[in-house]
Symmetry: C2
Subunit: 198 residues, 2 copies
Amino acid sequence: MSLLPPQIIRTIEELSKLPGIGPKSAERLTFHLLRSSRASPGALGQAMLDLKKDLRYCIECQMITITEKCAVCTDTSRDHSMVLVVEEPLEVIAFERTPYRGVYHVLHGVLSPIDGMGPEQLKIRELITRAKAGGITEIILATDPDIEGEATASYLQEQLRGLVSSVTRLAHGLPMGADIEFADQVTLREALAGRRGM
Amino acid sequence: MSLLPPQIIRTIEELSKLPGIGPKSAERLTFHLLRSSRASPGALGQAMLDLKKDLRYCIECQMITITEKCAVCTDTSRDHSMVLVVEEPLEVIAFERTPYRGVYHVLHGVLSPIDGMGPEQLKIRELITRAKAGGITEIILATDPDIEGEATASYLQEQLRGLVSSVTRLAHGLPMGADIEFADQVTLREALAGRRGM
């Protein structure tokens, strides 16, 4: 590899550090950037350098933003009595593609003792503070349906008891378009337990 | 998406322009860069900005380099009478992992009339000039074994006739580790035609 100019090697090395991009893909991407008229290393490089600039957490919901409050929390047309709790900022973006019109709270992780993630490492104190401040009637726990996500939801439910009138969890069941034949037994059990009248 | 800060959106957009990276992967990579302790948007961004800086083609072999002559062409311990002709710089790196100790010539593409790539767009004139200068006994044509690569090899063979004593082509046949059952008929035909005594 020493035959390549150092800046090419450095770009390949840095790209290789990204998840799902091995050394071969990094080589291919780097040479694509050198030749392409569409992708530009200059534009991408500048975007990367600016990436963390002025980034902060919304003082209300902890969403990543560049203003004191994010666009959702400053939107008075939204229902501020309903708070949807997610693990990561990208999940807010996912819910924004649905008809949901309440507000959010981003935990920035899940409880995971192995990874050193306890309640102090998450934005849980901020959620409790919001709940205590009043005006919230429902908190929807939308952590992932996996071990850490379920544990985090249970912990939050415990902490929020008595602070808000309703703490709910996203429905579990078959995803739309799923093939029942290939569904795992836990999902099928949840889908049965959560069956609804038609 | 408008909920995300503009620099995050810009990074996602620029990453989406890379081959094999869709909008969802670009989102995931961007948020990985925001959080990761290993990958750094600053280091990657700076590497991208520097990527094209001082890059030039080696005056001998047209390899990408930052000096007048590349490391291979300046290496007097290598066999300068043997020139291996490749389409792209990355292919030089691939051959450098083999015991090959001759020198190279990078065409920077293949003949492809549909894409507007004629002989003038490739580094063919430079190869002819090298051949005419003398001192080369063998030119190995290592363009890809596809339609454009074969056409380019034929064209080069024609152009180099009488200039060097030997113009060869990489062997075609079964790749190592291949399953004969699944080999295509053209490869099998070439493997038969090129069979060697044991």
